[in-house]
Amino acid sequence: MKQPDTRDETSAPAAQLSGVAGWIEHRLPVFATFRKEYVVFQLPRNLNWLWNFGAILVVVLLLMLATGTFLAMNYTPTSAEAFLSVEAIDRQLSGGWLLRAMHMTGANLFLASLYIHLFRGLYYGSYKAPREILWISGLVMLLMVMTTALAGYILPWGQMSYWGADIITKAVGAVPVIGDTLEHILTGSDHLGDIFLHRFFVLHFIMAFLVVGVVGLHVACVHVAKSNNPLGIEPKTPKETLSFYPYYISKDLIGLIVFAMVFCALLFFWPGVLTEPDNYAPADPLHTPANIEPEWYFLPFYGLLQSVPSKFGGLLAAVSSILVLFALPWLDRSPVRSARFRPICRPALIGVVIAFIMLAVAGKHHVMGGWMLVGRLAALYYFGYFLVILPLASRFEKTRPLPTSLAPTKGDA
């Protein structure tokens, strides 16, 4: 039995549309394009649950923009009023507590989903040709989201906001030659005050909306290069693919609902898991908190920052840990994409995940005592994997034989 809708994608029903829809379609084929890209769009039939995070990230981004817009309407970016305006949102604004809780939970789970999404790309080799631009646009987005999150965390102007900002601006100040200038561009004056807060408010805002633009690019890339899949081989026949609607829509929907449940559990029942109590004390430049640490999603980079004995070196290591990912398509020359068929890279990549987590734990302990060694070893391994193991493995690794087709075989879930 043939399925005509999966064969002929471009014979869109332009002619069938009449009235306003037909008028529009004739001038700008939105309906045909939507049908082509979101209805009959073909995806490998073996995508697993890790492929849900793309859709999840889009939905969370929209939620962040929606809640953020209304929060911004009630927020005052001055050092005297910022903390109190956030308190007023939480207490007096009708439904404000929910708005703010969604925004905070959203920020945490956005970063969490982004890390999972990134790991999926690493594990299944989704950065390899022809998906290099897809990969790079994703990394650009990661940097932008991290900037947005950093700026956003500063806005409530609590103790952690203030002292976190203090560490960041001083770290930037450690850059040789231009450090002082850079620091001044960030702070806007000789102390962290109104100008700084206002700048970061605008930065938070602008970055968030720029991310939407890069999401557009990223999604466009995936629609041109098509999705990778757990086996890492390209589908060759229509039998190896399934259409986005209804197959992957129905799967994405389940993923989204399960994600929403995790989201709600954290938001409604365990908010303490994500909030930092110290940030409910207003910023006090005269009183340094006993224990300054960033949000969990920055801890690995905080670990790197502290593991290197020089301030600038630490900053360099933290930034390089992401920059090195940009070079990944050219560091890993192996033709095999999926780690499933790479006996060296698979355990080595799990090691990278462990090293990343260990950097976070070391960061949480301020790399004191034994944690200094842990942080350094983890840092060494992290960079070692990308710069040494991966390039060498592409040459010497004996990969397992690739299957010839994505079509389901017996015992394949």
């Binding site: 039995m1 207490r91 609902i257 409910y280 034994g370 944690w371 070893l377 389901p408």
Partner: protein, 271 residues
Amino acid sequence: MVRFSFQHRTAFAAALLVSLPLMAQAAPATPTPPVPPHQKWSFDGPLGRFDQKSLQRGFMVFNQICSTCHGMRSLTYNDLSGIGLSQQAILDLAHAKQVPGPADAAGDPTTRPGLPDDHLRSPFPNEAAAAAMMGGVAPPDQSRLAAIQPYGADWLYAFLTGYHMPPPPGAPVVPGKFYNDWADGHLIGMPPPLMDGGVEFPDGTPDTAVQQARDVTTFLVWASDPHRNDRHRTGLYVFAYLSGLLVLAIAWKRKIWNRGKTRNAQDADDR
């Protein structure tokens, strides 16, 4: 600083990474403060709820005792509807306070009676004045006290019931300081605030210092997290909704994907 000696300097990185969880236990980052004994609170846990009666008694304690030195500036009088105060009670409460008003025709500052929208009046005009009056340290604002303080409710209760008069033998005696088991260094400038019969509860609850401590702790936790009851209730509704939706979504997905499998079998037959 934590001293940690490593014997296996030449160990492989991988081997070290495996052994890390052991180190996590061996190397606490900072000396941990003593843990106050855990109390049973109705508002604990993911489904906990504040006891409205206890909140109202707690507010009486706060209003009559704590608020003479501590502010709670993030709250408005209206927010007290959250503990079940009537609009009239809130209006009366606000009206009883004089707050700064607009300048008069001559440009002199005036005061006016408070309104429900006004924030709770702090006992001191500013932090410096508070510090000057209270022996150098301003009494902390209590809006988020229970959230900021480690072990929140348990610590507050332990602290409020942790004074020793006279101090235990051997404890240093400093004039103007009081001995408390849970204060930093066991000495604090705040005198014991609660005593038996210090506040009379109209609902017949025994007015012991311990009861007052329980109630005012409940009130302070509410002040730090005033929407907890709403949050937990809304959460349950949302969860029930999502669970129903999940069942439907799973049913839909199964139906569609089973069709996919059939399609594939048929395709195979065609070949």
